[in-house]
């Protein structure tokens, strides 16, 4: 009986989890650099990136590997959804200042 109940709770939690809002990860742009420049996210999970551009100049978040591009005007923030992704390394860069604005998303199975 107890086992069945626990299974039910587990199934309920899993289904609840799939409807839950995606986890949010924050990236800050300052002095044309990304902080952090390496972000570890869980595999096979949709993730919401909150990119805060603290520079006065605009920047474009771009990644060929993630198929994402978004202009972020100076002193504003932007939301970019990524994933679900397979484990691996996905570089991204700031198209307006690509020499310095470089970073990568590292997707790991357990997100650690």
């Amino acid at each position: 009986m107890m086992k069945k109940l626990l299974t039910c709770i587990a199934i309920f939690m899993i289904s609840l989890n799939s409807y839950a809002a995606p986890p949010v990860f924050e990236i800050v742009i300052k002095d044309h650099l990304f902080y952090p420049d390496e972000l570890v996210i869980p595999a096979n999970t949709k993730v919401k990136l909150l990119v805060k551009n603290q520079d006065a100049t605009p920047e474009e978040f771009e990644s060929y590997e993630l198929n994402r591009e978004k202009v972020i005007p100076g002193n504003t923030q932007a939301i970019i959804f990524i994933g679900p992704l397979k484990p691996g390394v996905y570089p991204f860069f700031g198209e307006f200042f690509p020499k310095t604005a470089q970073g990568r998303i590292i997707v790991k199975e357990d997100g650690k």
Binding site: K46, A56, T57, P58, E60, Y64, E65, N67, R68, E69, K70, V71, I72, P73, G74, T76, A78, I79, I80, F81, I82, G83, P84, L85, K86, E95, F96, F97, P98, K99
Partner: protein
Amino acid sequence: MLLNSVILVLREVLEAAMVVSLFMAFTTVSQQSRRFLIKAILLGLIAGATYAYFLPEVSNWLEGVGQEITNTAIHIGIYCCLTVFLWLISRDINLPNQLVKGMMMTAIILAISRESAEIMLYISGFRSDHFLMQSVLSGSLIGLGIGVSCGIFLYHLMIALKPAPAAKCICILVVIVGSSMMSQATQFLIQADWLASSNPVWDSSHLISEHSLPGQLLYALMAYEATPTWSQILVYLTSLLLMLIVIVSGRFSRSIQHD
């Protein structure tokens, strides 16, 4: 900074130059005045400046995905204009018909507005830095020059053909460019989380990298992605098919009318 500006501006200009040069070639082949296209380019630049100015507000719309949805609307708009254009000319409704002109102008205005907005925002970021501004401006001018040259090259390639094959070639390229607009629109909807994302169907980055020059040129022509998703491929093929159906049915109804 100089090289970066060249690449950035070139990438944006190439996409818009494709539509403009195809239409320029079409007007030349049809022996019509190109003045309305020049007007459309200017209006496109004005629309681009307006979009760039309001971009911070637009980005905040719809819980932070306003930019993606606006870009989606622009791309779908270009596709619709190009489809109506194909329908009209395959029914033998040609320039100087007002509707044909209207479709061509709207497509150019939309194409230029998005691409030029990005360039304007980019350049405006350097307004307080006069030292960098010089290299950014010269780099942008070089990028613009190369992009426009590519457009002129395509234009001359088209008009070098005889009128009938030239018109056919233009139609085929309009179909390819048009479908790529829908593929890009799909990409923006996925980014906004309005469409579910899925794993890429294939990875051709080792064959043609999106970072490379061929990759960039293919992107400008047909929105090449090294790692496309099912939804993008499906939308691309459906849009392509729909345009072909429009051309065939336009020709069919024309032949019925002639009979």
